[in-house]
C-alpha cells in the first residue's frame, strides 16, 4: 500500500503541477480534499480549490517543474520532499511577471483514504522565492 500511495502522490506532482493536467486531480483527490499551503492564509477545501491553486502556480510559473527528491510512506500518509524550478512568466500572488527563474524546496504530507488524497499539507520556501524574485531583499553573505 505504501508504494501505491507514494506513486499516487508522485502523480499529483508530475501530472498536475508539471504537465498542467488539472483533470487528473479528479482522479487523485477526494472531492472533500483539504489543502493546507504554507503560502496561503487558510485551508482550501474541495477539488476546485485545489485545481485553482495548481493553476495559480502554473500561471505564475508556466514552465514549472517539480522534482521529487525523496518520499517516505507510513500508514495512510506519504511525505514528499521536492524541489521546484520555474520562470516567473505570469502574475503570482499579485506580483507581475519578472522573467526571473526561481528554485525552491518544500515538503508535502498527503493523507490518503480509499486510494485518494483527502488532506495535503505543504510547507515550502516562500521567503526564498520572494527573495529570488526581488520582492523581499536577499542580503549578501558576509
Amino acid at each position: 500500500m505504501s508504494a501505491e500511495n507514494k506513486a499516487l502522490a508522485r502523480r499529483f506532482f508530475l501530472e498536475a503541477f508539471n504537465d498542467g493536467n488539472l483533470s487528473v486531480i479528479d482522479e487523485l483527490a477526494a472531492p472533500e480534499i483539504v489543502n493546507h499551503d504554507s503560502a496561503m492564509p487558510g485551508p482550501m477545501v474541495g477539488i476546485d480549490a485545489v485545481k485553482a491553486a495548481v493553476a495559480g502556480y502554473r500561471t505564475g510559473f508556466p514552465d514549472l517543474q517539480i522534482t521529487i527528491d525523496e518520499q517516505v510512506a507510513e500508514g495512510d500518509r506519504v511525505v514528499t520532499r521536492w524541489s521546484a524550478r520555474g520562470t516567473h512568466g505570469g502574475d503570482l500572488m499579485g506580483m507581475p511577471a519578472t522573467g526571473k527563474q526561481a528554485t525552491v524546496t518544500g515538503m508535502t504530507i498527503d493523507r490518503l483514504e480509499n486510494g485518494r488524497i483527502v488532506e495535503t499539507r505543504t510547507n515550502w520556501d516562500t521567503l526564498g522565492m520572494l527573495q529570488q524574485l526581488g520582492t523581499v531583499p536577499a542580503l549578501a553573505t558576509a
Partner: protein
C-alpha cells in the same frame, strides 16, 4: 541598502538566486563560474523591456498622426 533591506536586516541569503543578466536560477556554488547563455540572455533582456517594446508602436503611430509627424511623412515621401 534599500528600505526593504532595512526592514528585514537579518534575512539569510537563499541558496538559489537568479543571474541579474539572464535570470537563470543559480546555485550559490555556480554563481562564480556562470556564463550566460546568449539566447537566454536575449530573452531575459527583451522580457525586461516588454512594456517599452509594446508601447513603441502606439507611440510611433501617435507621432506620425501629429502635425510634425505628418510633415515628416510628407517630406520623406517627397524625397523618395
Amino acid at each position: 541598502m534599500n528600505v526593504l533591506a532595512s526592514m528585514f536586516p537579518s534575512l539569510p541569503q537563499p541558496r538559489f538566486m537568479p543571474c541579474p543578466e539572464c535570470g537563470e536560477s543559480l546555485d550559490l556554488d555556480a554563481r562564480v563560474s556562470h556564463e550566460c547563455d546568449e539566447a537566454r540572455w536575449a530573452d531575459y533582456q527583451l522580457f525586461q523591456l516588454r512594456d517599452e517594446i509594446e508601447a513603441l508602436e502606439p507611440q510611433i503611430a501617435s507621432y506620425l498622426a501629429s502635425p510634425r509627424g505628418r510633415f515628416e511623412l510628407w517630406y520623406a515621401a517627397r524625397n523618395r
